[in-house]
Amino acid sequence: MIQMLLEATLIALWAGLMGIDNYNGLTHAHRPIFSGLVIGLILGDVTTGLIIGGTLELIWMGMVPLAGAQPPNPVIGGVIGTAFGILLGEDPNVAVGIAIPFAVAVQGLITLLFTIYAPVMHRMDRHAEAANPWGIEKFNYLGLVILFVMNFVIAFLPINFGVQTAADIVETVPEWITDGLGIAGGIMPAIGFAMLLTIMLRAEYVMFFIVGFLLAAYLELDILAIALIGLSIALYDYYQNKRHDSQPKQAAGEEDFSDGI
């Protein structure tokens, strides 16, 4: 009993730290390949830990965070998958099945965190305006604490209380809520871009905005290609203006774009 509690706590501590590593630090010790070894050490069965960790790594290999898209959580998947593979003597593919509801649950919590942290940005804006570094720093540290606690709890529950009890708890949230937050999260960068535009956009720049949008929407060009096209336009514009300037006394109106910037 005491040993079980100790093991569950150690595993949960590892899960909490790796929950942070998944977004910050990024040593990738949170990958199943390495988590498998650590969980094997904690539970005293390194060989099984290695085998399950390796298998889970291959399963999670294709699932990488690209352009902000969130795959099923590899941290909890690796930790719980390996732990139950060892504790119950299950085949890795069965173990991953056990781990999936928890990997989804923690991903749901992360979606919630990323939503709640959007309004926090406006608190941080005020600290930025007041030139208060600690105000910026504390909200970043808080983010780490929340990630740690979420992963700690989600890993601790099933290992200490058993799979079924824990699964019942994590499955109480209706699916449409996590789906809805996910949809809102997909839309929310629109607000960030809109705020950038209120600062950067002027009538004379609207054409470049349109060009960038069309290149991505219709031609589906990579952002690198779009940036290079933008750079070509900027260089052309730069040398055109330079030539204009070297011919003195052009029409006065041509200089207007320099106002304010």
Binding site: A130, T198, I233
Partner: protein, 284 residues
């Protein structure tokens, strides 16, 4: 915060700050590990970016008003690859310390984040991780403990090597480039803003996801609202309309907090009624 945007372009203290030392750059490299600590859907890495470069900004701006303006700018939307971010940090810090025009700094920051994000994904998540992870996994499955150990060493030698060398390289490149450019800052600002605005236009079509999942039933045939109607008018129509709507609401001094609230309700309602498809958690 949109109210004082016009006077925010110039630095009140024009005096250049001393260059950052090697020690300071290493410290900044470590700070960059926190890039996603305050990650969220609205600004993404914006808050973590400010955290990462903050000591550099304090070094560059002794004047409180300048520091305030700089910090506000650096809270804006940001998203790039976390291993390559130090390169942009180096360039931006070189510009900040040289008291470049705020519009130029803003433009450079936005223009660089998207391309480096794509390059980093391809290099690290689509190449390095599957390569090292795959070899290590095949060793581990045979019970070889050196699999995971080799993985963590090789991966991180490349990871931290990239992160810190780009910190130095970016900063050097920034300082040298600025020294060469003797032109008026207005021209540079204009160029940087043109690239930045072009990239933002592209990012809206790439990053903002609104997918309608609704079919009109005509007995014989079905009409897919997203594919048959919206996409045939213009791909990326809803993301563009939504972003512009947010833009005009912000211009009308609507609070961004209200806009976040509206967006969350919009997402929840869309999921509850089943007319919108999950943008980001699709595969979970």
């Amino acid at each position: 915060m949109a109210s004082n945007e016009l006077e925010k372009n110039d630095q009140s203290d024009e005096e250049l700050s001393p260059e950052l030392t090697r020690k300071q750059l290493i410290h900044l490299g470590f700070r960059s590990l926190m890039l996603q600590a305050s990650f969220n859907y609205e600004r993404m890495q914006g808050g973590g970016w400010l955290y990462s470069i903050l000591p550099g900004l304090q070094h560059a701006h002794r004047n409180k008003k300048d520091l305030s303006n700089s910090m506000q700018d650096n809270m804006a939307f940001f998203n790039t690859h976390p291993f390559l971010v130090t390169f942009i940090m180096g360039i931006v810090l070189a510009m900040e310390q040289n008291k470049e025009d705020r519009a130029a700094i803003r433009g450079i920051r936005v223009a660089m984040m998207g391309p480096l994000g794509g390059v980093g994904d391809a290099l690290f998540y689509l190449t390095l991780l599957p390569l090292t992870g795959g070899i290590a996994a095949s060793m581990a499955i045979e019970g070889n403990i050196f699999g995971p150990i080799m993985f963590i060493i090789v991966f991180n030698v490349i990871h931290f090597g990239t992160r810190f060398s780009l910190m130095f390289y970016g900063y050097r490149a920034g300082v040298n480039a600025i020294a060469k450019i003797k032109e008026g800052t207005q021209r540079i600002s204009r160029g940087a803003t043109i690239v930045g605005i072009t990239v933002v236009g592209g990012l809206i079509a790439t990053f903002v996801t609104i997918d309608v999942d609704y079919f009109l039933d005509f007995g014989e045939t079905e009409m897919d609202i997203q594919e048959d109607v919206l996409d045939s008018i213009m791909p990326g129509l809803l993301p563009l309309v939504y972003t512009l709507a947010m833009y005009f609401l912000l211009k009308k001094k609507q609070s961004p907090l209200i806009l976040i609230g509206i967006t969350v309700l919009f997402g929840l309602l869309g999921a509850y009624l089943g007319i919108l498809e999950g943008g980001i958690d699709d595969d979970a």
